[in-house]
């Protein structure tokens, strides 16, 4: 019966109710988008970092992976040392550099990565095969942007050089390579031509600049049945061990990398927070306005309800139900609206230069979204509570008298 009354009260002024629902829907949509933005970057970045099972990244002191051209020497000793640690079960070393490639009269510069195919966590093979293990640069795998830029196909032979010169041929090192596979690089922006070759082959190709050097080593820490907290502690212990054992490098765990990225993108999170908070406030404001309006108009009716024996809690409940119903309708509508706008905003931000293909800014994480919407629902119900409380406390005899006068 209370539900019937609440429902009837909303239906009494359909225009008004629709307007409030629409306003709430927009608040909900904004809130969802902002929650998706605030939690999405972190979630997406984490899943990207951990997608291949490596939790630690070892880089030249003070740098981020492939952020600069820095590399570390004595790589084999470093990698061997890492492999001795009992908690480390895999190490994937890699060397990155920029090379010039040409086929016929087409030429481009490309990002070249030396890796070990068996353990690498840098790319996924999509066609063809891996380059054969070799100490001389003979076979490479490349990404789609590479093929597109050069108009090349699998099986083609390319010219690779460290310098862009046709005229100054002798100045740089050069090699003829066969394109044997197509891959998708996880951390390379999709538009950038990139290739991968066996690490020793690339090192040899670069001569003195590449001898026994790597830009990055990824390490995977053994995972066992322990709880997440213990696992994190173990990774942190390994990380500290690496840094004390090898002062020339920095070891970055997934957690610290996320913190660093979050620092860089703090702006978006804060924007998200402010807009999200604002939409919550506005949602509350809308519901309060609508419900107080409806309560003020019905004060007499509510007094009659009290007079014929409806307890205070009953009146309170009936009016809060109105807020709840408005909230539910608005949120349902807002959910769809929010998902559509999130998709649109995501395509805008995905244009950021230098972003890996798999990084998203707006990620639907059910838990975060339901929490936010739950908050809005509670907020809109509580917003109805203020006028509801006023209505429930109405002095019955007095209100009846006023109703008779009105």
């Amino acid at each position: 019966m209370r539900t019937t009354l609440a429902w009837a009260a909303l239906r009494r002024h359909p225009m008004r109710t629709l307007l409030a629902i629409f306003g709430l829907a927009i608040a909900a949509a904004l809130l969802i988008d902002m929650v998706m933005l605030a939690t999405g970057m972190r979630a997406s970045f984490r899943s990207l970092l951990t997608s291949q099972g490596y939790q630690l990244r070892v880089t030249p002191k003070g740098t981020l992976p492939f952020d600069t051209e820095a590399s570390v020497g004595g790589a084999s000793a470093l990698v061997a040392s890492l492999r001795t640690h009992p908690d480390i079960d895999r190490v994937s070393p890699s060397l990155g550099t920029t090379v010039q490639v040409s086929i016929g009269d087409r030429a481009t510069s490309a990002f070249a990565l030396g890796t070990t195919a068996a353990v690498q966590g840098e790319y996924l093979l999509q066609g063809g095969r891996e380059a054969a293990v070799d100490t001389v640069l003979r076979e490479v795998v490349v990404n789609a942007a590479f093929l597109e830029r050069l108009g090349a196909t699998l099986g083609d032979t390319l010219d690779v050089g460290t310098e862009r010169s046709a005229q100054l041929r002798q100045a740089g090192r050069r090699a003829q390579v066969v394109l044997v596979g197509v891959v998708r690089f996880l951390y390379v922006p999709p538009g950038l031509p990139a290739m991968a070759a066996p690490l020793p082959a690339l090192q040899q190709f670069l001569g003195a600049a590449g001898r026994d050097r790597i830009s990055l080593a990824m390490a995977s820490v053994r995972v066992d049945g322990r709880d997440a907290e213990a696992q994190l502690a173990r990774i942190e212990a390994v990380r500290q061990w690496i840094e004390t054992e090898h002062p020339r490098v920095t070891a970055i765990s997934t957690e610290t990398a996320i913190v660093q990225v979050e620092e860089r993108l703090a702006y978006f999170r804060q924007l998200a927070f402010i807009l999200g908070a604002l939409s919550l406030v506005i949602g509350v404001l809308l519901v309060t306005t609508l419900v107080s309006l409806s309560v003020n108009e019905r004060l007499g009716e509510l007094a009659v309800l009290r007079a014929i024996g409806v307890p205070q809690a009953g009146v309170l409940q009936q009016i809060m139900l109105e807020g709840l119903m408005l909230g539910l309708a608005g949120i349902t509508l807002g959910l769809g609206l929010g998902l559509v706008t999130a998709r649109w905003l995501n395509t805008i931000l995905r244009d950021f230069p230098g972003l890996p293909a798999d990084l998203d800014f707006f990620v639907w994480s059910p838990e975060a979204a339901w929490k936010a919407l739950g908050m809005l629902l509670i907020a809109s119900t509580v917003a109805g509570a203020i006028p509801a409380w006023r209505a429930a406390r109405v002095r019955v005899a007095q209100a009846l008298r006023e109703e008779a006068v009105a």
Binding site: F22, T63, L168, R264, E297
Partner: protein, 305 residues
């Protein structure tokens, strides 16, 4: 007779959110400034007999407590001894939007010094070439074409193209801001309309009383509309003031976080005017909509009897 149907803070809050959207990143010409007092002038090609001079980021100076004249060691690779250098100058970062999120330190060395230190003898990453001012822009184009055609192992770019490319990050942020701004404006408009309409509805009894007292529909409608418009304008004025205070806070905060003199939020008169006129239009629309509904309904129905 005055109809008081709106409480200004509601509208102020909305206008605040309205302004949060289209705030702009101020575009400024990037140029690092030397702020330390060099004890030894930084002159290209000047070769000190033993210890070379370098310029360091103001950030390193702040974070590591280094001052002009201090001696540091510099090495191409961590873990190696490197060589001693003396800090000749401090450099302050330019207000370059594309650099905002980069937090690493920077040092500046004389070219020959860096070449020797990194074992990159006689190598450079790029040249900057200035064309004689009398040559004009067409000369730049033909020069570019010439260099790129001969391709001595280089690729030439006009500065403006480089600027366009390097500002892509900024453009994306800008587009995102525009999108968010648009959404915020639409959302605020809907909120404003909702609240104004609801608030006018709250006055239905007063309107009924006026109509019963014999005032014409026109008079009643006009008074409702005028009231809504005045309140919307007042509210957006308050909102603009709050927005202005917010820009101060936003700038202070992000300039500290990102250590840059860049302006993050800017409330221009145009934006303020836009906010106020948008609220005015919304106020009139909401007032008109509500008034139309109210004056059409017979007064007795309005009283709910």
């Amino acid at each position: 007779m005055r109809l008081r149907f709106l409480r200004a803070p509601h509208v102020a809050l909305l206008c605040c959110s309205l302004l949060a959207g289209p705030s702009l990143l101020g575009a400024q010409t990037p140029r690092d400034t030397v702020i330390g007092t060099p004890t030894v002038p930084l002159a290209p090609g000047r070769v000190a007999p033993s210890v070379r001079g370098i310029a360091i980021d103001e950030r390193i100076a702040q974070d590591a407590g280094v001052r002009v004249g201090d001696t540091l060691r510099i090495a191409a690779e961590a873990g190696t001894t490197g060589e001693p250098v003396v800090v000749d100058a401090l450099v302050r970062r330019s207000a370059d939007p594309s650099e905002v999120a980069r937090s690493e330190y920077r040092v500046r060395l004389h070219l020959d010094h860096l070449q020797r230190l990194t074992n990159a003898i006689d190598r450079v990453d790029r040249f900057a070439v200035a064309v004689r001012p009398e040559a004009g822009p067409s000369a730049v184009d033909s020069l570019l074409a010439g260099v790129n055609h001969v391709a001595f192992g280089f690729r030439a770019h006009a500065s403006r193209d480089v600027a366009v490319e390097s500002s892509r990050t900024f453009q994306v942020v800008d587009r995102f801001h525009r999108a968010i701004g648009g959404i915020t404006i639409v959302a605020s408009a809907v909120f404003l309309l909702c609240i104004l309409l609801l608030k006018v509805e709250e006055r239905r009894r007063a309107v009924a009383a006026l109509r019963l007292a014999g005032l014409s529909r026109r008079t009643v409608a006009l008074s409702v509309i005028a009231e809504a418009a005045v309140v919307a304008v007042l509210g957006s004025g308050v909102g603009a003031a709050i927005g202005w205070v917010a820009t101060l806070a936003v700038n202070a905060h992000y300039q500290r976080v990102f250590r840059t003199p860049l302006t993050f939020a800017l409330l221009t008169p145009r934006i303020a005017l836009f906010a106020v006129s948008l609220s005015l239009v919304l106020g009139i629309v909401a007032g008109a909509l509500a008034a139309w509904r109210l004056v059409r309904t017979p007064p007795l129905t309005l009283l709910g009897r």
